[in-house]
C-alpha cells in the first residue's frame, strides 16, 4: 500500500514537469542534436529530403565562402571594438552615477531607456541621423562639416564609416545593462573601506585602483564575457541600420549569414546554415573558455 502511494507521487512530479519537458524536448534538445547532423549531411536537398553522404564538406564550403569570411571579419571587429569600449564607458558612467546623490534616479532612468526600445525601430532614427541623401546631408554630417571635416555617407558609404555607425549603435544598445550592473556593484561596496582609505589620506585615484576596482572586478569580468557572447551574436542592429540585404552592404554578421543561408533570396541551404552556426558556437565557446582561464589569474573574488 505504502509503496503504491510513493510511486504515484513520483509520477505526479513528472506530470507537473511534462509541459516544460515537451517544449524543451521539441524546440531545444531535438534541434540541438539535429543541427550537428544537418551540418554533416552533404548535398542535402530540402525538397526531396535526401543527401549524398556524411562528411565535412559543408564546413569546408562555408569556410571558403567569401560572404562568410566577410561576416567573420565584421563580427570580430565588432567584438574587438564594442566590448572593451562599452565596458569602459559603462564603468566611467557608473562611477559618476554612484558618486552623486542628487538626480541619480533620474539619470539611471534615462540611461536605461535604450534597453526597452525596439532595436529595429530606433535603428531607423540612427539611419536618418547618419545618412546622406539628395535632400540633406544629415545631422551628423552637418556637424562634421561645421567642424571642418568632409561629409561621409555612413549608411551607404565607405566600409569604415558603416562599421563606425554599427559599433556606435551597438554600444548605445548594450550600455544600459552594463551601467545597471556596475552601478549596483559600486553602490554595494562596503563604505568602511573608503572611510579607512580616507583616514589614511589615500588619493581618490589610488583608492579607485586599489579598492574599488578589485571589489567590482568579478562584475566587470561577468560583463566582459556576456558582452563578448552578445556581440558575437550581433545581427538585428545591423539589419536596423543597413536593411535585410547585409551581404550587399558588406555588413553581414555570422548570425546574419546563418539566417541568409536558411531563408530569403539566398536561402534554402540548412546544411550550410548549420555548419556556420556550429562554427559560431565553437568560436563563442573557445573565447569564453579563454576568458575563464585568464580571469582565474586576474579577478579578485
Amino acid at each position: 500500500m505504502k509503496k503504491k502511494k510513493l510511486d504515484l507521487s513520483g509520477l505526479k512530479g513528472w506530470l507537473y514537469l511534462l509541459p516544460a519537458i515537451v517544449f524543451l524536448g521539441v524546440f531545444m534538445v531535438y534541434p540541438l542534436i539535429d543541427v550537428f547532423i544537418y551540418s554533416l549531411e552533404e548535398g542535402y536537398n530540402s525538397a526531396s529530403q535526401t543527401f549524398f553522404g556524411v562528411g565535412g564538406y559543408n564546413y569546408a564550403y562555408v569556410l571558403r565562402d567569401p560572404y562568410f569570411l566577410q561576416a567573420l571579419k565584421n563580427t570580430f571587429i565588432l567584438v574587438a571594438v564594442t566590448v572593451p569600449l562599452s565596458t569602459l564607458i559603462a564603468l566611467l558612467l557608473s562611477v559618476a552615477l554612484s558618486s552623486i546623490e542628487a538626480l541619480r534616479n533620474l539619470f539611471q532612468t534615462v540611461f536605461f531607456l535604450p534597453y526597452v526600445t525596439n532595436t529595429l525601430a530606433v535603428g531607423l532614427v540612427f539611419m536618418i541621423l547618419f545618412q546622406k541623401t539628395e535632400y540633406t546631408e544629415g545631422l551628423v554630417n552637418l556637424l562634421i562639416t561645421f567642424f571642418g571635416g568632409t561629409a561621409v555617407d555612413f549608411i551607404d558609404g565607405p566600409y569604415w564609416a558603416k562599421m563606425f555607425v554599427l559599433c556606435l549603435y551597438t554600444i548605445w544598445i548594450v550600455l544600459p545593462f552594463k551601467i545597471l550592473i556596475l552601478t549596483s556593484a559600486l553602490l554595494s561596496v562596503d563604505q568602511t573601506y573608503y572611510n579607512s582609505a580616507k583616514v589614511d589620506g589615500t588619493s581618490r585615484f589610488r583608492t579607485f585602483m586599489r579598492i574599488t576596482l578589485p571589489m567590482i572586478s568579478p562584475m566587470i569580468f561577468y560583463l566582459f564575457i556576456t558582452g563578448c557572447i552578445g556581440a558575437f551574436k550581433a545581427y538585428s542592429d545591423a539589419v536596423a541600420l543597413f536593411g535585410t540585404d547585409l551581404n550587399a552592404a558588406e555588413m553581414n554578421t555570422i548570425v546574419g549569414y546563418v539566417y541568409d543561408m536558411l531563408y530569403g533570396d539566398s536561402g534554402g541551404y540548412p546544411s550550410y546554415a548549420s555548419a556556420a552556426a556550429v562554427i559560431l558556437f565553437t568560436i563563442v565557446l573557445t573565447i569564453t573558455c579563454i576568458n575563464l582561464i585568464v580571469s582565474k589569474k586576474k579577478v579578485h573574488y
Partner: protein
C-alpha cells in the same frame, strides 16, 4: 596664526577640487543623457514635421514650424500598422501566458514535490540555459515549415514559449516560501494543485510580475524568429512591420511618416518601463541580457 592660514588654504583647495570633480561628473552624465535622449527627441520631432517641410530643410531645424499629426494618420492608413500591433499583442499575450503556466507547474515540481530523478532533471534543465538560440533555430525553422505552420500564430508562438532562466528564477522564489505552510496544507487535505494556486502563486506574485514584464519586452521586440517564419504581411509583428515599412512602405523618402510609425512602436514599452521602472531594473540586474 600662520598655521590657521595654512589650514584654511588647504580647506579651500580641497573644496575647489571637489567642485571641479563634481562639475566634471555632472557634465559627463548630462552629456550621455543627451546622447541617449537625442534619438528619441529626433524621432518625435521628425514625426510632427510635414513631408514638405522635412524635405525642404537642407539643414534640419530643431523645431517644427507647423506641427502636424498627419504623419500618424498616414502611418496607420498607408501601411497596416494597426494590424502589426494587434499581431504583436496577440503574440505577446499568448506566449507570455503559456510560458507562465508551463514554468509555474515545473517550478512547483522542482521546489516542492519529491520524485525520483528530480535533481538530474533540474541539472539538465539548467544546462539548457547555455544553448544559444542561433543553434536551435535552424531545425525549428525546418520543423515548423514541415508542420505547415508558417504564417500561423502557432508557428510564431510555440518555439518562443519556453524560457529556462525564468523557470529558474521562479523556482528560487518558490523555495523561499516556508515549508511548514505546505505541511499544514497537506494535513488539511488540500491538494497540491490547489495549494499551488491558492498559496504559492499569490506569494510569488512579485517575481511573477517581474518575469511577465521581462517576457513582454522580449516578445514585443522579437525580430529574428518572426522574420523567418512569416512572409505573409497579415502575420507581421511590429519589428518586421517596421522593416517592411523601411524597405517598401511609404517609399524611402517619406521619413516623417516612417518616424511616426517608429514613435508608435516605441511608445508602449517606454510607458511600461516608466510605470514598472524598479521592477524591470531589478529583474534585469538579476540576470537578463538583451538577446
Amino acid at each position: 596664526m600662520n598655521h590657521e592660514m595654512d589650514y584654511e588654504k588647504i580647506e579651500q583647495k580641497t573644496k575647489r577640487k571637489q567642485r571641479i570633480v563634481k562639475t566634471l561628473t555632472y557634465t559627463l552624465l548630462v552629456f550621455w543623457g543627451v546622447v541617449v535622449l537625442f534619438p528619441f527627441f529626433w524621432m518625435v520631432l521628425t514625426s510632427i514635421k510635414s513631408y514638405g517641410e522635412y524635405n525642404s530643410e537642407y539643414i534640419p531645424k530643431f523645431y517644427a514650424s507647423s506641427p502636424t499629426m498627419s504623419n500618424y494618420i498616414e502611418a496607420f492608413t498607408a501601411v497596416p500598422l494597426a494590424e502589426y500591433f494587434l499581431n504583436t499583442l496577440i503574440f505577446t499575450v499568448v506566449t507570455t501566458a503559456v510560458m507562465l503556466v508551463v514554468i509555474t507547474l515545473a517550478a512547483f515540481a522542482f521546489a516542492r514535490l519529491e520524485f525520483k530523478g528530480k535533481n538530474a532533471a533540474f541539472v539538465l534543465f539548467l544546462s539548457m540555459m547555455m544553448i544559444p538560440n542561433e543553434l536551435v533555430i535552424i531545425t525549428n525553422f525546418v520543423t515548423i515549415t514541415d508542420l505547415d505552420m508558417r504564417n500561423t500564430f502557432a508557428g510564431l508562438i510555440l518555439p518562443s514559449v519556453m524560457s529556462v532562466f525564468y523557470l529558474y528564477l521562479l523556482k528560487e522564489t518558490f523555495q523561499q516560501i516556508p515549508d511548514n505552510l505546505y505541511q499544514a496544507a497537506k494535513v488539511d487535505g488540500t491538494s497540491d494543485f490547489k495549494y499551488l494556486c491558492r498559496v504559492m502563486v499569490p506569494m510569488a506574485k512579485p517575481t511573477l510580475v517581474t518575469i511577465t514584464i521581462l517576457k513582454v519586452i522580449e516578445c514585443w521586440n522579437s525580430y529574428v524568429w518572426p522574420r523567418l517564419i512569416t512572409d505573409d504581411e497579415a502575420y507581421y509583428l511590429v519589428s518586421n512591420g517596421i522593416q517592411e515599412i523601411r524597405e517598401n512602405g511609404f517609399g524611402r523618402e517619406n521619413i516623417p511618416a516612417m518616424m511616426a510609425a517608429v514613435v508608435v512602436i516605441t511608445l508602449p514599452l517606454i510607458v511600461l518601463f516608466l510605470v514598472f521602472r524598479n521592477k524591470i531594473m531589478e529583474g534585469v540586474s538579476r540576470g537578463g541580457t538583451k538577446g
